[in-house]
Symmetry: C2
Subunit: 124 residues, 2 copies
DNA sequence: CATGATACATACTTTAGGGTAAGTACTTGT
DNA sequence: ACAAGTACTTACCCTAAAGTATGTATCATG
């Protein structure tokens, strides 16, 4: 999964940041452009791999599974594969994943306020 | 500020994501490893440039101002420079910046719950 | 018998983010 | 005269994230 170099300053700093700031901990798990979108779609309900693909046409298949695998590894989503022969794989939110709903909602609310200029400065 | 290529798929996708998902809008503004840390420190109160530097020793000066400039451009923080001659520059949260507090708090709360295993799976 | 649908995997390349290190301008202290 | 503190700026390089383009296995359908 694009193996990372252990001996880089970036990784050292990441570790530090993780201890120092819980926000970084979250960013580490839902950061990147596609993860929040995927979670957003899964909040609406369980979805098959192909459903997600169609729901988010801009994401490449590589990015989609890569992010799904990472989210699964971080216990944010649950993958269930039925042993059928046109494969049938469903992704759903785990307990931890559902726990992110307030975060995503707070973000969404802030975003709309900021876009609407409710914080001033932009509309003044 | 590390000029970006307009004609890249990444940028196209960013624009799409911004429309589709408010969470991405937030990520676009407070994403990256240092921004949330900086905001975190500024929530505790206004700080001088050098105070921030000392508070976050791991961040390089380049990253620090770069992020401060971006946060300022996004109207999340306010820069105030006293026209003194050892320069005296203070950074504080704007209204929009303070509006992020619930987001950061929701994240922090989730992070602690996840670390403590309150979502299960990790302790079980 | 070849195409399409399913859910991936893998190699190869580009791009943006981040790191290192040095320099600027101006003043105070020694 | 020189170092140190202030708040930056700039140039160069490396790494990780993301994109492009393929290939895999299985079965159903035309």
């Amino acid at each position: 999964m694009t193996a990372i170099k252990e001996s880089s300053t970036i990784q050292e700093n990441k570790k530090y940041a993780l201890d120092q700031c819980p926000v970084i901990y979250v960013m580490d798990k839902i950061g990147g452009y596609w993860k929040p979108i995927i979670l957003f779609h899964l909040i609406q309900g369980d979805k098959r791999y192909s459903e997600l693909k169609r729901a988010i046409p801009q994401v490449s298949e590589k990015m989609l599974i890569q992010n799904l695998k990472q989210l699964e590894a971080d216990d944010l989503i649950i993958r269930e594969a039925k042993p059928e022969v046109p494969p049938y794989v469903t992704y759903s939110l785990s307990k931890a994943g559902r726990g992110l709903q307030p975060v995503l909602e707070a973000m969404a609310s802030w975003a709309f306020n900021d876009i609407d200029g409710n914080f001033g400065r932009r509309v003044s």
